[in-house]
Amino acid sequence: MSTQILTTKLHIPYPSSNLVSRPRLLKRLNEGWNRKLTLISAPAGYGKTTLLSEWISTSEMPFCWLSLDEQDNDLNRFLSYIIASLDSIFEFDEQITSEYQSHSPDDLSRLMIPLINQVSDSEGHSSLVLDDYHLIENQQIHEAVIFILENIPPNMHLVIVSRADPPVRLAQWRARGELSEIRVADLRFTIEEAMHFLNQSMGLDLTVPDVTTLTDKTEGWIAGLQLAAISLQNHPDRPTFVSTFAGDDRYIADYLLDEALQWQPNHIQTFLLQTSILDRLCAPLCDFVTDRNDSRGILKELERSNLFLVPLDNQRNWYRYHHLFADLLRIRLKQEGRESMVDLYQRASSWHEQREMLSEAVRLSLLGGDAERVARLMEGHLLTIVSTSELSTLNRLLATLPKSTISGNPWLILAMAWGMVYEWKFEIAELLLDKIASTLHVLDEITKDRLKARISVLQSYIAGSRRDYARSIRIAQNALRDIPDNDLSIRSFTLLIIGNAHRFEGNLSRALEFHHDALRLSEEARDTALSVIILSRLTDISRLMGQLNRAYQSGRQALEMVEIYQKQTGTQSFISGYLKLRLSDVYYERNELEMALQYVEVGLDLARQWGAYDSTSLGYFNSSKINQALGNYRQAHNSLREFKETYPSEQRRQYQIASALEAEIHLRTGNLAGANEWMDTSGLGLSDRIQFLDFQFYDVLTQVLFARDQLSDAQVLLERLLKIGEETGAVEYEIRMLGRIALVLQKQGDEDEAIDLLARALNLAAPEGYLRTFIDQGEPMAQLVYQASLRGINPAFCNQLLDGFPIPVVPDQVSQDDLVEPLSNREVEVLTHIAEGDTNQEIAQNLHLSLYTVKSHARNIYSKLGVKNRTEAVAKARLLGILPKNS
């Protein structure tokens, strides 16, 4: 949950209805807008946030807001929130909003420059407020803020609100006159302000000397005055209260809280103390933690009586206590006994656990000092945490535990080991596993067995990540012998790992078996998350094996599970991201591009939010594929580039896939040089031993060879790939290879042979409706399918396919002469740019035309060609020889 954008963090706090207006400070704030930075630095309770919300409500300037918390000490997370916040004003390009997900935050400027440029290019202007900046300790984030300040465009202003001065080179900005500061001395209430506050806002009727005494005693500290006012509201003898308070030497907040609480009814006192452990409160959570059922009413009442409760959203669902008030309450609570506190944290943690807000659950357990429970959460939800990639957050939380606590608890070490695997640090993970193994002897038998099993599972997972599938399977098989029969989830997970290894190795029917076994166990264990993951993978395997209908059923079944689950828990489930991406595969193959696009957008969004590498890559690739199919080559290309920039490690397979897919786009847009360059640098050779997992690379290679007219090389390679498809049962590959070989034969002039092969492909594809596998092979394939239909081969399916090609297939001999009205030179020029995937805007710039003119050219082109959109226009123009024909 923590990696999703919590919109409550972006809400500008509402100005309180009984605000003390502070024109003297507003004036200074307004004067500071032309400088780079406004700093509001003062301890808690000086009205920093309140002052800002008044500024915002009275200012004509738009503001973006970000309330920081401890969990934002992660550069990627921090930047993603900054972007989400700025997005409300500047409406960034999609590509920017994903830029931040980089796993190499070292190169700060690369991350920041596009962001700054977008702001600077934008017509809007805004101030960005970073509230509670003192919670940031991460040096990288300080550097990011310095970078922003150094490069801040004139249409942006930064406001930092903090309890301590942030290390962002304040002296430098101050010296250059770029800093506007509001500090404690400015924020203290003057006697006039205190008068207004106590007598008007809080409805007291104090004399000037009394107000003066209170202001002196509290030194204008607003929280102190507020606490005093709450006590005074209920106090029978106000003058006595004032004089007693003035004469007391205790720490004033301590004294005042005692007073304030004393006048609250018992149940409110208890409620305040018990809920003080929560950073964010909502009524159901408070009910659960305090074992009451009237929390909603209490929260409303507290808000009404100014008891330091801050609403976080319009609907009054979520609140938080004023920091200082919460701190003071927690100290009181601790006084009441360690045990009750542990119990409260435990309840709060399990409330979040039930809603799968696991990192918050872990955080609360850590605060409760309940390392046991953290370990149990890891034990119970390890798989969910692993599969939802909440590991990065967890890594950071675990880092807050003392080393001795972690090293004393094998579950926590195991959690760390998973975290290391997530960061691709296998050696460290293995060291950690060794460490657990060495402590096993002191544990009871049951725990020992459970741990042993999980160590093996992780070892197997590591082997699989290193592509050593034989080892991965061996370890997992051994583990299965030791895992108790009733340890269902882990058995299921182990079977899933074996199934995965088989899938990557190309033993698809074995993979299918293991996935089915895994699914049986996960369903028996009622482990929804795991079942959904297994079904998603089944969707993939079935599609690959030529069972598109079954793939669809598995996907829909999983989707229903997710929906029921989400209804029950009221939360968005992470795993649905991967599922939707796998479903988009199916829709794509069926040529239902709208649906495919819809699923890819949601899926990629979720994947990016939890930073899951595999799903994110899948999302970008699918998005690229779909955009190609829609004729948006530029956008298709951008998706791949974006992915590469997000995960710039060239060694990883997905990065290389992205390069291969780029080469494919080059081929389709007639950029043979680009495709050649890929081939030369790819390191692929005709005589390579081809692993199943690398099928895709060689498939692209055959297309380059084909385009270069190296037909016999292409054919040899295609025959080898076809054999792999046949032997592994990857029917989808088989269909595709048959089609490609048919095109080679056709180009060689052997049309009969070509149609024979195509007929084989059609027979495999027709019952399950594989369409894109053909359509993606372009215009020559359309011609070939047309010929096949003329010969009466599977005519119904052929017609279905022909409908799917971008333009109605017409006989070969047409030329531009057949057009009622030929295209003008200018129109051909525009069309050439369209074919290259340029946007209208870009064409306008390149040809020095107005956007309007380009659009009108485009309309004429469509009408002359008798087509509806750019894709059809380009395809038809190629067919007519207006544009060079490419394969």
Binding site: W221, R250, K334
Partner: protein, 90 residues
């Protein structure tokens, strides 16, 4: 300050610090910063103050405590390094 330790340049940890703040704190704060606490009305300036004596593992922990005092708006009067043999004092 302890004359023996005051000359030291390389401090070692855990160490004991005395933190003096303005105002009087009641006993229950002891637990909060994990140390001992003595409140007194009589200091050289005649103002009420509280001395917190606490053992910290490193500078970072010390800064953590100072931050928390800041968060509670407790004015700081003095921070003194006492000894690196923290355990003897607590």
């Amino acid at each position: 300050m302890d004359s023996e330790t005051s000359n030291k340049t390389d401090m070692s940890f855990p160490a004991t610090y005395q933190i003096t703040i303005k105002g009087l704190l009641s006993e229950h704060w002891t637990d909060w910063f994990n140390g001992t606490l003595v409140s007194s009305l009589n200091d050289p300036t005649g103002k009420p103050h509280t001395i917190l004596t606490c053992q910290v593992r490193d500078q970072a922990e010390l800064h953590g405590i100072l931050n928390r005092l800041n968060n509670l708006n407790m004015p700081l009067l003095e921070v003194t390094y006492i000894s690196d043999k923290g355990e003897d004092h607590v």
